[in-house]
């Protein structure tokens, strides 16, 4: 799949606001998460959706467990 940083950032920001995370803090750790993902992706030509999810969740867990949970489970709520 094609990785779209802009979409991911937008999605994470929406989730962060919904979870009541202060926007300043959210901005910082979303940036850090995206940078880390970019670094990991440099060594890969292709990435599956589940691999990307795993990568994002692993990074987000370092900063906010609820945000990681929502990202990981959004398609498993219903």
């Amino acid at each position: 799949m094609e990785y779209n940083e802009k979409d991911l950032k937008k999605l994470l920001k929406t989730d962060a606001k919904a979870l009541g995370i202060p926007s300043g803090a959210a901005e910082i750790f979303i940036e850090r998460t995206l940078k880390s993902i970019e670094k990991s992706l440099k060594s890969k030509d292709l990435i599956t959706e589940s691999d990307l999810t795993r990568l994002v969740v692993r990074e987000l867990k370092k900063y906010h467990a609820d945000l990681a949970y929502v990202y990981q489970n959004r398609d498993k709520i219903v």
């Binding site: 929406t14 989730d15 979870l19 609820d66 949970y69 929502v70 489970n73 709520i77 219903v78």
Partner: protein
């Protein structure tokens, strides 16, 4: 069937309605995205329209079924004995088995029986809602995939309400109480969100009670089937 059995049946029906998970799940997604994109006040306002969509669908369906059954009874069709009772009981037993084995997908998540593409569509639709109209529409749409689980309940509820003749507890009050319990889980979810609980916390709570929900749902269907079929057995002296 006495007043007490009718009341037991109606209570079971409302409890089943309160234990179904698709509408609350879609509502959670919708409220989460609304909170992420709008102010709390706007999200609350949109949530009311979602709830109105669900309520309108259920009330309209209930009224349609009510008038169809009324028409059938006016034409001297018997629905409370014989084949119709066996048929409805059989359907309820099938739904009990379905609730136990297939309502939830395997694994720890709350994924339901609906196709994953449909679940994704709900997620996408909930994410893009900006107007009250769309919130209302999502409320309506969220009730559709579970209709096969709820329509038999509406049929039974209608028959029981028609038979109801207890002057100390008027029919309209009974219907109102039933609707209140059915929507209980949606209002409870809304209260949780309003009291600063987030999607992750509420979903974890649901997951913790997944087995309980599954067992109770199938048990309610089974007991309902028994309550309906029991008079048929006593008729033959069994």
């Amino acid at each position: 069937m006495g007043v007490l059995t009718s009341l037991e049946i109606l209570i079971l029906i409302t409890l089943i309605g309160a234990f179904l998970q698709l509408t609350p799940g879609v509502f959670m997604l919708f409220y989460h995205y609304a909170l992420g994109k709008k102010s709390k006040k706007t999200a609350d306002d949109l949530a009311l329209y979602f709830l109105a969509g669900v309520e309108t669908t259920i009330i309209v369906l209930f009224l349609i079924i009510y008038y169809v059954i009324y028409f059938l009874l006016q034409n001297n069709l018997t629905l409370t004995t014989g084949l119709p009772v066996w048929l409805i009981s059989g359907i309820l037993v099938a739904l009990a088995l379905f609730s136990f084995f297939f309502y939830f997908r395997r694994g720890p998540s709350m994924s339901l029986f609906i196709p994953r593409r449909l679940a994704k569509s709900y997620d996408n639709f909930a994410r893009d809602i900006k107007t009250r109209k769309k919130a209302f529409l999502l409320g309506f749409l969220s009730t559709l995939p579970e209709l096969f689980l709820t329509i038999p309940l509406y049929i039974i509820a209608t028959i029981e309400i028609m038979k109801w003749d207890n002057p100390s507890f008027p029919r309209p009050l009974l219907v109102f109480l039933g609707l209140f319990i059915v929507f209980g889980n949606l209002f409870f979810t809304r209260i949780l969100f309003r009291s600063d609980h987030n999607l992750a916390e509420i979903d974890r709570l649901r997951r913790k009670n997944k087995t309980f929900i599954r067992i109770m749902l199938s048990l309610f269907y089974l007991v309902l089937a028994l309550l309906i079929i029991l008079p048929e057995f006593t008729k033959y002296g069994i």
